[in-house]
Amino acid sequence: MSVSPPPLPLRIRLRAALKNLLFIGLLAGGIGYGILRLWEPEPTPSVRIPKDDVLAVAENIDAKFADNWAEKNLTPIGRADDLTVMRRIGLALTGSVPSLEEIRHFEKQKQDKKIEWWTNRLFDDRRTSAYLAERFARTYVGVEVGPFIIYRRYRMVSWLNDQFFENRPYDQLVRDLIAAKGIWTTHPEANFLTVTVKQNDDKKNLPDPVKLAARTYRAFLGIRIDCMQCHDDMFGDRWKQKDFHQLAAFFSQSKLGMNGIQEDPKQGYQVRYRGKTKAVPVKPVVPFRPDLLPKNGGLRERLAKWVTNKENEAFSRATVNRVWALLFNQPLVDPVDNIPLEGPYPPGLEILATDFSEHQYDLQRLIRIIVQTRVFQMASASPHPETNPVTELHEKSWAAFPTTRLRPEQVAGSIIQSADLSPIDADSHIIKRVQRWFQTGGFVKRFGDLGEDEFGQQAGTLTQRLLLMNGELIKSRTKENPFMNASTRIGSLTKDHGKAVETAYLTVLTRRPGEEERAQFTDLLNEKHGGDRSRAMQDIYWTLLNSTEFSWNH
């Protein structure tokens, strides 16, 4: 007869239960975390339904362009395929082609939601804000190293990155830049002023009002009157020398003190105008719409409010033109920073500028509208070249998408991205990100940076072509490497030659091969196994990366 042991006291049983719970919790947590790390779930980007008014504005712009084409008796080329539009957006917002993984997700979306899904996905991605920050920084502070210690470009770009990621209203951001005060590290926007400080000159480390006036005119008002620094406008009577210097006078009280950029009301601004013998004091006066200038506040604060005033249309137009240029790699009004104050304006500019100012200067909304327009989704090549060939007039009138060379960092970014089937983003392994950073920097240095001249179209050089054909970057990203390179992985993970060729095309050119292309490269893979097949895949990759199509935005 068995005797059951007496039950344990409740306290001991509770303690044991607690111990078990703790242990199981630790174990489950550890295993769960491990599994999550290993089995990365598919990204689920936030999908926002496009607001009707975004599409309505895009349709309004389309109508304006349609009228313009009708006037010029132009037949628009027709819509580009979805993947081409996807590639354009990827290049404009992240500086690289989309990855195969992103293409697969894109293709799963409903037809009418694809573009919206892709833009939303990219707005949620730090790559976009980082890329936009660098592009806009070139406008604000150029690419120069700048004065020692008091100028921190990377700090400013990092700040801009945060502003764009949070989609801060653009007028607020610009006000911060123009009216910045404080130390350049604590207040990164102050670098807009400190970059102009000439150290060790007779101006006692003062920010340069002339440089600041030129930047303010060009970057925020879309007016290029740098020449008016020395003389009146020689090609018209709209701009006088005093227009330039009276705006420069708004920066004349800025100084560099113990606590960074400050205002000193005692400081003045004097200029010796052309043809005069004596320098005269210059009062701060805005070149147009003086009624919008606030009466009170510091000089730069007043200027900042005037520039970003809702009724100051030049500010909205300048921003729209710049964002348009970022998306098309070509501005609506060329040059990007020379927009006539009184018009005439190309179709769409006024609609976009008004919408931008009426919607709290929302940059993301502006980009959403532009990418939804028929103009942005237009093909660059005609499907019927015999009856409707693409002419220069087509491109100038936006009846065909203008083909432009990729920027150096876009070429580098696209080469590096096409060597990976998943996106190289903030979630990628740190080694991949560091490698991308070094490889992009090295490539751009050799390829030649465009510098501050963002949209100046330059012809390709022999050195650039050689760099693409024999350079280290393409060599290292196409050679046999099952860990790092997509060409090797594609070769080893599918025995279907057609599938391998198609994957290579999608990853490098963001499109599927045509029948002829498929047949040609499939032949190359036929009868090849193991190392020979891998080498053939390398050749295909190398060929695609060196194709003209790869190096162009089309």
């Binding site: 630790l26 590290t185 113990m258 606590n259 993970l493």
Partner: protein, 399 residues
């Protein structure tokens, strides 16, 4: 990782030692010596690995919100233990335990490498041709290798979690162990006992109190300096900054020793017993001067690394520099404090006053550099709040 004493007898790993009876006396002596040398060598390797793991572990903890109190608590305890025992080696706390954790982490990482590779291959195969036989094959392989890796990691951890346990699965031993009763309780107890032995709540509480105390000490000077940075007028800002720097000089002359005294006493009020610390200083003035010099000097390299910020997931790398430099500084502070505690007589007045005078330029230079950092470091004026010589690399970031 686990405590061998809590494991069942069949699981404990026995060293393979030849029978002593079969070896003659001179040979026996030689064998003994060789074995000692061999063991000593591995003990040294184990210790060095533990030290490296400890440094990296403290560095990682230092950048994680709330857990950074653990890191600070450990560093304060280092000074306290030396002050209490008078032995420098007492400051190397938990090196062997850290080595065990390091082995476990390194082993797990090694075992997971092939799993990660297979996971990547499966994902890419799916991307290339979704649902293809190749993708399915990789998927099945991934499940198999994940299960095997999980079992292997668990079994290696149960056996002790040393690197050798990850390299050889010991299958016979595994099946024997599987047949035993009470496995769950044994494993559970050994894991929980190990965690308990780490004394995490103790270090967390110590770090938190040490942090609060340091903040009280530094609040006035740092806030004055911070306020000075907001003043537009240069002359006024200069005066305010000078006042702030003066207060900072006083605070940093005392704070390292107040923290050591606090760790020694274990009571929060010890952080403010200035008279007691001054008394200890009088007994070892040169040692105090030396340790203060080291503490402030070793705080400087991290300021250089704060000029640009690394990506978030690499934030622990500057933190390693912080631990590498601050750890010896804490050892020295503990050593100086223990000297003061153990001496009965005051130092000669010449040494006392010479040390006091010699402190002035050091703390003055330190206050100047701290003030200067707002112009150089990535976070500007906010970096004034990151007094890593007495706190953790970025206390505000951590909170």
């Amino acid at each position: 990782m686990l405590d061998h004493s809590t494991l069942p007898p069949t699981v404990s790993v026995q060293e393979s030692v030849p029978s002593l009876a079969s070896v003659s006396p001179p040979e026996q002596k030689k064998k003994h010596r060789l074995r000692r040398v061999w063991r000593g060598f591995w003990s040294l390797v184990d210790w060095l690995m533990g030290a490296a793991v400890l440094i990296v572990g403290l560095a990682i903890l230092a950048v994680i919100p709330v857990l950074n109190f653990l890191s600070l608590g450990y560093l304060i305890e280092v000074s306290g233990r030396i002050a209490r025992t008078g032995k420098m080696r007492a400051g190397f706390i938990g090196i062997r335990k850290a080595s065990a954790v390091g082995s476990l982490v390194a082993g797990t990482w090694l075992v997971l490498l092939p799993v990660r590779l297979v996971s990547g291959m499966w994902k890419d195969a799916e991307l290339i041709d979704q649902g293809s036989p190749t993708a399915k094959g990789w998927y099945i392989f991934l499940i198999m290798i994940t299960v095997l890796a999980a079992i292997h990691i668990a079994w290696a951890a149960i056996r002790g979690g040393r690197l050798r346990h990850f390299l050889w699965p010991a299958p016979i031993q595994f099946f024997r162990w599987m047949g035993q009763d009470g496995k769950f309780t044994q494993v559970r107890n050994s894991v929980l006992n190990y965690i308990k032995a780490l004394g995490l709540p103790y270090y967390l509480w110590l770090g938190f109190r040490g942090f609060v105390g340091a903040v009280i000490w530094l609040a006035v000077p740092v806030l004055i300096l911070f306020g000075g940075a907001q003043i537009a007028s240069t002359p006024l800002a200069a005066i305010v900054n000078l006042i702030g720097a003066g207060f900072l000089m006083i605070a940093v002359s005392y704070l390292p020793f107040m923290q050591a005294h606090f760790a020694n006493e274990g009571q929060f009020r010890a952080l403010f017993q200035v008279k007691k610390v001054r008394d200890v200083f009088r007994r070892a003035p040169i040692a105090f001067w030396l340790s203060l010099f080291a503490t402030l000097l070793f705080a400087l390299p991290l300021y250089i690394l704060k000029i640009e910020l690394p990506p978030q997931d690499l934030a622990w790398i500057p933190s390693v520099v912080f631990v590498v430099f601050i750890f010896p500084a804490r050892l020295l502070v503990g050593w100086a404090f223990s000297r003061g505690l153990r001496r009965e007589k005051k130092g000669h007045w010449i040494f006392r006053y010479a040390s006091r005078f010699a402190m002035a330029p050091i703390v003055g230079a330190y206050a100047f550099i701290v003030w200067l950092t707002q112009y150089l470091t990535f976070n500007g004026t906010w970096s004034l709040l990151e007094q890593h010589a007495f706190l953790v690399p970025a206390p505000m970031l951590g909170l």
